[in-house]
Amino acid sequence: MNENFDVIVVGAGPSGNAAAYTLARSGMRVLQIERGEYPGSKNVQGAILYADALERIIPDFREDAPLERHLIEQRVWMLDDTSYVGSAYRSADFSKPPFNRYTIIRAQFDKWFSQKVREAGVLVICETTVTGLLLDGQRVVGVQTDRAGGSIYADAVILADGVNSQLARKAGFRPEIEPREVALAVKEIHFLPEETIQSRFNVTGDEGVVIEMAGKITQGMVGTGFLYTNKESIAIGVGCLLSDFRKQKTSPYALLDRMKAHPAIAPLLAGGEMKEYTAHLIPEGGYHSIPPIYGDGWLMVGDAGMFVNGVHREGSNLAMTTGRLAAETLIALRSERKPFSARNLARYRASLDESFVMRDLRKYKNLPRIVEKNPQFFTAYPELMNKAAHTLISVDGVDKKAKERAIRQRFVAARSRLGLLGDFFKLWRAFE
């Protein structure tokens, strides 16, 4: 078969959709191949959508995108076994349109995005797995699929195939992913009536709440938990480094079960019907784990390129931005009649370096290593802080000075004076 395209995009997640849409809008002939039954079918449900990244691709997305709730409140909890200390930020300003962050259900959102991609003129083929890249020497010239008659050619291939990116590994473009570079996250959706969610989370209409969690819920492993409110459901999940799961021999499922039973969390889910259970990897290696992201005839975007900001739980926006920038690079080269060679595609990397994507990842470049080496941030500190709060708040005839002394002693006993100083310094360095 002689099918020829300007660009083939592998994968129909946020990064692939952003790339395919941008390319087609500028008149490129684009084929997108997705292995799922439909775009979104393979994607973990329930997530936060950051409006800005999408707005730069589809400015009027709010008109018809399936959005669940816009977020007006963010809570951060440090959990001990039966307690948490937390902070929250809530602002009525977040209730004024245009909203900045939304909860979405990925299966629906990805489907909507894919519809836009089709309308832009992309030929979208689902239920088809790309099994390998067609190479002419070092240059990628097309893809091989699992279907009969399945070799297709293009001037460039965009790898938007998600965190595993088997294609890139198979082609030798990137090394194997280390278990400490990825988190294994599990997530469930619990259905509850709209009114219950509104009253439980103190919101009205389509307002929503996010709770970010750390502490005992990860049982000493490096990881975090989260809870988002959708319109008629709650997404709850927890993720830890794959290497830690291995070491601890804990199953993610058991971890999530324990977390759901926490006395501060259980009442939020009570009465709900659990519907979805999904597990997925998240790239957490940060800046240092980013592989080569371009070469002769190919570009890598989204999770495939490890573009996730684990600190702020941003992934889909980095995916969309990298997808868009990759597409814009190809569009610019085409209009200058330049070939899609590695030399020319280096522009993609340059535009990423300029963008918030690389700036943010660079900012936190040491964090993954620091938290991996210092599990106390996920164990000792949440416990100490919970104990401190408990001591301070309990009224029991002990004077406040004595209470403060007791708290201080507990911190020093757990970490030593030097240790505390060191921890403070490490954290400061990681976030500076």
Binding site: E3, I105, Q108, I125, T128, R147, A148, L192, G271
Partner: protein, 284 residues
């Protein structure tokens, strides 16, 4: 030979939830699939096509989104696809559905005679198994239900021979064409589409007919108006609290256990009088 396959897009019933409070069916976010039984019918039609170079047209009545069901059918190898869609069709029960489909088939026949109409055994969302028979009745075609095998199609003589699964045995039936066939589940496995067929399906320009295009004048026969069926209540059945029975024997020997089990089964469900296929009786 021209084979028409009627398919329906249905919500994936494995993923439907009943609202915990209101007890209504929650369809939001439930993926739409091609009724699995219809895929068995389609594959059977495609196998006939492979054997006899027939032409296969798929037809569906549904909302505009049902387009994806037709494209899927095209990717498997159907030649043509027609979408029957109109607000006036909404809310149709099996009577109104078969009316609209029969009208569309009459129209298709004008272009090219239809020898066989295939449908699935039933849909997974309605479970009525009435639409196929409804079409046959309206079009005056022969009706073969629960067909498990197509033995022979003889176009010269205008005859078809099939096997039909029935209680107690298998019937071998021969009738004249044109005929409507509802196909039993599980008798084949859908093929894996080729890449060229995937491209063809994605690019195919669907034929879309509204009420008028389908040649339907009488609006009281279609949609909600043409549907005498009323759904009076939807509810989730309460799970049965019945416990499994534990069968024990004195000896605990497997032979005794099996004998006791068989005896129990046959007192509860007496053997069927296999009235249809005499040979089956002799065997039991």
């Amino acid at each position: 030979m021209h084979i028409l396959v009627c398919i329906k897009q249905v919500p994936d019933s494995a993923q439907i939830r009943v609202h915990p409070v209101t007890n209504t069916i929650m369809r939001q976010g439930v993926p739409a699939i091609v009724n699995p039984y219809d895929l068995v019918a389609l594959e059977e039609a495609l196998r006939l096509k492979d054997r006899t170079s027939a032409r296969v047209t798929v037809l569906t009545m549904g909302p505009p989104q049902a387009e994806s069901a037709l494209r899927k059918a095209l990717s498997f190898g159907a030649d043509e696809a027609i979408l029957l869609t109109d607000r006036a069709f909404a809310g149709a029960d099996t009577l109104a559905t078969s009316y609209a489909l029969a009208a569309a088939i009459r129209k298709i026949r004008d272009d090219m005679p239809v020898d066989l109409v295939f449908t699935g055994k039933q849909t997974i969302d309605g479970d009525t198994a009435q639409v196929g028979p409804g079409i046959a009745t309206r079009l005056g075609m022969q009706l073969l239900t629960y067909v498990s095998r197509i033995d022979r199609v003889d176009l010269e003589r205008g005859e078809i021979t099939v096997q039909r699964r029935a209680e107690g045995g298998v019937q071998v039936l021969r009738t004249r064409l044109p005929a409507v066939i509802t196909v039993l589940e599980g008798i084949n496995e859908m093929r894996f589409a080729t890449m060229p067929d995937m491209f063809r399906a994605a690019r195919y320009g669907l034929t879309v007919w509204d009420r008028e295009a389908a040649g339907i004048g009488d609006v009281t026969k279609i949609g909600l108006k043409g549907s005498p069926t009323v759904v009076s209540r939807v509810f989730a059945p309460t799970p049965r609290a019945q416990k499994a029975e534990i069968i024990q024997t004195q000896s605990e020997q497997p032979d005794d256990l099996v004998a006791t089990l068989l005896a129990k089964m046959f007192t509860k469900h007496p053997p069927l009088r296999a009235a249809i296929c005499p040979r089956a009786v002799q065997r039991t």
